[in-house]
Amino acid sequence: MNETVIRLKLSFFLGLRSLRRGSIGSLVMTVVIIGMVFTNMIFLPSVITGAINLFVEQTIEYQSGDVLIQPKEDVEVISDLEDLLARVNRAPGVLRAAPHNNIGGVMKFKGSRLAGSVIAIRPRDEVLVTGVSGKIRDGEYLGEGDTGVIIIGNYVAGHKDKSEDLMPSLGGVRAGDSIDVEFTNGVVRTYRVKGVFETKSYMADQSVFITWEELESIRGQKVDEATEVLVRTVPGEDAEEVKLSLTGMGIQEQIKTWHDLLGKAFAQVVQSYGVINSISTIVSIVIAIVVIFIVIMIKTLNNRRQIGILKAIGIHRTTITYSYVFQVILLAIMGIFFGMLILFAMDRYFAVYPIRFPDGDIRPAFTLADIVTNAILLFVSSAIAGFIPAWLIAREEILTAMRG
């Protein structure tokens, strides 16, 4: 039999028995620490990933759809809207297109004034494209052809006690209240608040919606232009493919997928989170290395005499070193397994009770790849941390070691 194989077999034999017959308290403590370190390695990044996922979902769900059509460069609006909508809605992979027309205005309610944009929508299209209709917390969503009514976001509605608001608000508007809106074209209208929505998206909850018919009434003419068109793709369709289809149809406007839209800024955010994740991972690994190093160092120092005896009777020092590495590997496997159990328990828990942030409910998100990558990292780090003290002691002179 090959010498290396013999040494590895003997190392495993020694390592396994040392674990089985050694201190159970020390074993459990080490496994728990490795498990906690592993959990820590995954958990913080998973919360950050969950926050990123939430941000992406909210962007798609409430602001951009899967694909966003914007005016050509140097132009403020998309003209020939009806023609464009007809073409987009016929495009393969498109579920529905919903036009938005933003107009500036100042909202007033009981002495509170709030400047912002009012978005005109077509409710029948909008319900197929964005998720606002499902997030009405007070009152109702807009109906097709509604006039004289408005729906407002949670942050716009605000609270009577403004100290509870995260940003300027109208000071506690509820469904049924009336607010005045002074549009930039000079028109002033009083609207009954038909509903207040709460999406938990920071941006979306600052929005205010009226119907297209109301916009035409304000403008006093048919409106065949939009500031943007949100497009929802058929489930499973790739937004990039749909964008290519639309471009292929000769649409001249700017067509952007949600990914294009989030663009560089989003990439920078992800990169910044990546740095935080890396720091968190490095700190966790350093903790794991230090703990395992100390545990194995104590173990080898306690077994110093035994190591001397093993060398004296002809057991090679690499066999002795590897026996400790095997112990660490087994501890790491048990620790990682324990950590996985904690993670899956946490995953189940947060599925039911997500972490509540002002921007929404975050469910920590991790993938199999995250688990495998971190397990390998921890595994290798543990093996190195176990190897060094064992290697140091196994190199000692026999009689020095035997004297303990």
Binding site: M1, E3, I6, K9, L10, F13, L14, R17, S18, R20, R21, G22, Q306, I309, L310, K311, A312, I313, G314, I315, H316, R317, T319, E397, I398, L399, M402
Partner: protein
């Protein structure tokens, strides 16, 4: 079999030199049951450690079967200790986390034998020292005499060419000491096992064929006792 020439060993525990051996030249012959005797600090254990390749001399040579051990690297010395030498220490030196059978199997496994071969060889040698009923016990569950018999079995299982025993009876009562010495006697008489044993007990003399007396790191006298 083993020849030392002008062997010296000096320790440097601090600034003062402590010479433990001062020019030892002698030979261990095949089949010897050799006792190394002398007062405390005379260099008995130091000499045994050098002969057993557990330590390095300061000067002088050790030849085993005409081969200078100074030419051996660390791996060769380890392999030689495993395959050709057996050791018995006064405090038994068993691996606490291994059972009686596993302690004995260890050195057989290190030679690459199959697990069945290891078990077979270990059981056999443990039965010769009367410990067949203790195979699954851990060392702490055995008496001192039993532990030393396990150590003897471990030292014998690889059929070494020479057995080194460093005061193997130091921690045993007279009955157990006698049992251990009888075991050595049997090994030496029946199997021609070469044994080098350190002792300072006068009554052990009766078991040795030859006694090398050390005093102040030198050979005081070399006494052949075959006629006794």
């Amino acid at each position: 079999m083993i020849r030392t020439t002008n062997l010296t060993k000096t320790y440097y525990p601090g600034v003062v030199e402590v010479p433990a051996l001062r020019g030892i030249s002698f030979e261990v012959r095949r089949g010897d049951f050799l006792g190394l005797m002398g007062p405390s600090g005379s260099g008995k254990s130091t000499l045994l450690h050098l002969l057993g390749l557990l330590d390095f001399p300061t000067s002088g040579t050790i030849e085993i079967n005409s081969h200078d051990v100074a030419d051996m690297d660390d791996d060769e010395r380890t392999d030689y200790r495993l395959r050709k030498m057996g050791y018995i220490f006064q405090d038994y030196a068993l691996v606490a986390e291994l059972t009686v059978l596993e302690n004995v199997m260890l050195t057989v496994m290190a030679q690459g034998k199959t697990e069945d071969e290891c078990r077979e060889a270990s059981r056999e040698v443990l039965s010769t020292v009367g410990l067949s009923h203790r195979l699954g016990h851990l060392p702490r569950e055995l008496s001192g005499g039993e532990q030393q018999r396990v150590a003897i079995a471990r030292s014998m299982v690889n059929r070494p060419i020479i057995l080194f025993a460093d005061e193997p009876c130091a921690n045993l009562d007279t009955v157990n000491s006698k049992a251990v010495l009888d075991q050595f006697h049997t090994l030496n008489e029946e199997f021609g096992q070469t044994i080098v044993m350190v002792s300072h007990e006068e009554w052990h003399k009766d078991y040795f064929h030859r006694i090398v007396y050390l005093k102040d790191g030198q050979i005081d006298r070399d006494e052949d006792r075959r006629g006794h």
